[in-house]
């Protein structure tokens, strides 16, 4: 029983970086912008979070800086695609290549330096409950933050005027423009929010999950987050489900390796999350799922305001 709870709690932890990255990208995509640079923004957040936490000694300052770093990367993307009308796919790839290089450069002096792990924040009263306590209420602030952020985004998109405008911009930018909304400004904000979230996801990896800096430590999580958004059919609460699914695959794979359950090399087990991503993409592209895959109509389409 305790073992199962610990396992499920580990799944929640493992899903946190994916949840941050995916919920941010979801908001950007709902506004009609496809940013393939999630991996690069996460790495920028990871290295910044680590470096700032190490130098200031404050995890919170580190987390804040990581969010700013992610948003700064997103700003580069936004200027290129929204103001200079560059191709979104190519610019997103450039952002990832740049992020891999820049984070390796900044982090080159930090490789091998240990960092105190982001402390656990037990919720008073709730953390002592049986089962539910260790499962849900004995995590660090970023784990709570990722779930809270997802719920907040779900509420914002579904229930608020701002959310409605954002969706309108993503579905039909010409109509939104005609109604007097500034499409470009709204997209800038959505893309910056996406970068901020990716930065937080990166920071979780480098100061909480494995508190150290390793080159390319995101290991494709930014790309898996992109797949998660498609899997979730652009709905925030389904992102939550998807993130737990992928967190589950990660933990399963780690435990199977640790226990030596299967007589295969560890590398084969490590392939599982990537293969699972492909399988999920295939499953949602065939059969009854397909009809429900409604991408925002203006996703990836550039908008040039005519006067």
């Amino acid at each position: 029983m305790d073992g199962t709870v610990a396992l499920l709690a580990a799944v929640i932890v493992a899903s946190t970086p994916l949840l941050f990255a995916a919920i941010g990208e979801l908001v950007a995509e709902r506004s009609g912008v496809l940013n393939l640079g999630v991996e690069g923004m996460m790495l920028a957040g990871a290295v910044t979070g680590f470096a700032v936490t190490l130098t200031t000694g404050s995890h919170l300052v580190g987390i804040g800086s990581a969010a700013v770093a992610g948003a700064a990367m997103a700003l580069v993307f936004a200027v290129l695609t929204l103001s200079l009308m560059a191709n979104q796919v190519a610019t997103g790839l450039a952002l990832t290549i740049f992020g891999v290089g820049l984070s390796a450069l900044v982090g080159s002096s930090f490789v091998g330096t240990p960092l105190p792990r982001l402390p656990r924040l037990d919720i008073p009263g709730l953390s002592d409950l049986p089962v539910v306590g260790p499962l849900l209420f004995r995590h660090d602030v970023l784990v709570y933050g990722a779930v809270a952020l997802t719920l907040a985004v779900a509420w914002f998109l579904a229930k608020t005027r701002g959310g409605m405008i954002l969706r309108a911009v993503g579905e039909n930018h010409e109509a939104a423009h005609g109604l007097g909304y500034n499409v470009i400004h709204i997209r800038y904000l959505a893309v910056l929010f996406g970068g901020l979230c990716a930065g937080l996801g990166g920071a979780f990896l480098s100061i909480a999950y494995t508190p150290m800096w390793i080159e390319q430590m995101t290991a494709g999580r930014g790309w898996i987050a992109l797949a998660l958004v498609v899997f979730a059919a652009w709905r925030p609460l389904r992102v939550l489900v998807g993130a737990y699914l992928f967190g589950g695959v990660t933990i399963l794979q780690l435990h199977a390796q640790g226990l030596g359950l299967f007589a295969v090399p560890s590398q084969v087990m490590s392939m599982l999350p990537y293969i699972a991503t492909i399988i999920v993409l295939v499953v949602i592209s065939i059969g009854p799922w397909k009809a429900r895959l409604q991408a925002p109509a203006c996703l990836g389409r550039p908008f040039l305001p005519t006067n």
């Binding site: 009308m85 740049f98 080159s108 790309w223 295939v282």
Partner: protein, 363 residues
């Protein structure tokens, strides 16, 4: 106030002027970066861009590094023109190196003229097989090829690791994760004694010319361009989209696989845990910088190869972290994409002129 005004047609002059412009901007930004990192900019730029080219060995190394970049970029460019985004070249390169390298190891200790051609065929097929997965899924179920080809890159690199720590490990290698050295018959001959420049560079040149001919002189090249730029017109003309997906990914995958085979049987000489320093990703930059044109890819490949050499040299002479190479490559693509605004738009200062033709959308 500066605004963008769409050009009636893309500007061919700008199309070929923006790559040099991006290079100049990258060098300026690089100088600022060096200054910010506390290095002497003039000395660093010299170490990065000039010193590597001042010896015959350096020039040969430029060819060694440019060969895989040009080969992969030439293949990817065909797909990018058709709107097929294969970004898993790094994985296809790895599988090509594994498949071709395996054939080489089968003939270990033997001699024969047929071994190298057989390895090349296996390398191409290995890359194609890896690219066939996203091709099949894209053509059949419209699954996003960007994500599938990228996920397969991670799988491919893990597969290489599993095999090199397992069955491919040399029995005489004292447990190091390396295969046996290929026999002389399984190694690409060098072109110039004392350098690492190998026959693969010549083969790459021939392939570039063939692809250039295909793209500029045949109906196939025309179809690729139409499908990429006007999908609706292409459908109307009866050009098959799924055929184009297959051809794009097979060209990209096959040439990436060949590039991987060239690496292990040329400069490296055996299968090792890290075959490429990210050539498969960097080739994406090369393809764009070369304007998705085979001959452009050659120029761009030589230029981007210099960033690898420069990074290595700056590490030795100035003590700069080698990761600077990646930053330069990323900046180069950023500046290129930014400068490309000039290809499709005019910059206009001031208020819009009264429109003589009704504008789309209106007020």
């Amino acid at each position: 106030m500066v605004r963008l005004e769409p050009r009636a047609e893309i500007s061919p002059v700008m199309r070929w002027l923006t790559p040099p412009l991006a290079v100049i901007l990258t060098i300026i930004a690089g100088a600022i970066l060096f200054l910010a990192m506390g290095y002497d900019p003039a000395r660093s730029l010299r170490a990065f861009f000039i010193a590597p080219l001042s010896s015959a060995y350096g020039l040969a190394e430029l060819g060694v590094k440019a060969t895989p970049l040009i080969l992969i970029a030439t293949g990817l460019a065909v797909g990018f023109r058709a709107g097929v985004w294969n970004i898993g070249a790094e994985g296809q390169l790895t599988l090509g190196a594994l498949a071709g390298g395996y054939v080489g190891l089968l003939f270990w200790g033997q001699a024969g003229w047929f071994i190298l051609p057989l390895m090349m065929i296996a390398g191409v097929l290995g890359g194609m097989a890896w690219a066939a997965i996203p091709a099949f899924l894209k053509a059949k179920f419209d699954v996003n090829e960007i994500l599938v080809s990228l996920m397969l890159t991670y799988v491919g690199l893990l597969l290489l690791s599993a095999l090199i720590y397992g069955p491919l490990r040399s029995p005489e290698g004292f447990g190091f994760p390396e295969s046996r050295m290929f026999s002389p018959s399984a190694q690409l001959p060098n072109l110039i004694a004392g350098t690492r420049l190998h026959l693969g560079a010549v083969i790459t040149g021939v392939i570039v010319l063939i692809v250039w001919f295909l793209m500029s002189r045949t109906l196939f090249g025309f179809q690729v361009t139409v499908i990429g730029q006007a999908p609706a017109a292409a459908r109307f003309a009866g050009f098959s989209r799924s055929r184009m997906i297959w051809i794009s990914l097979m060209m990209g995958g096959g040439l990436s696989g060949l590039a991987g085979l060239f690496e292990v049987t040329g400069p490296i000489g055996q299968i090792v845990p890290t075959i490429s320093p990210g050539y498969g990703f960097t080739a994406i930059i090369v393809a764009f910088l070369g304007r998705l044109h085979p001959l452009g890819c050659v120029l761009a490949g030589l230029l981007v190869a210099l960033s690898y050499l420069g990074g290595e040299n700056a590490q030795i002479t100035v003590g700069m972290p080698q990761a600077v190479t990646g930053v330069f490559q990323g900046m180069l693509l950023f500046f290129l994409l930014a400068a490309d605004v000039l290809v499709r738009y005019r910059l206009r200062v001031g208020k819009p002129a009264p429109a003589l033709i009704p504008t789309r959308g209106g007020r």
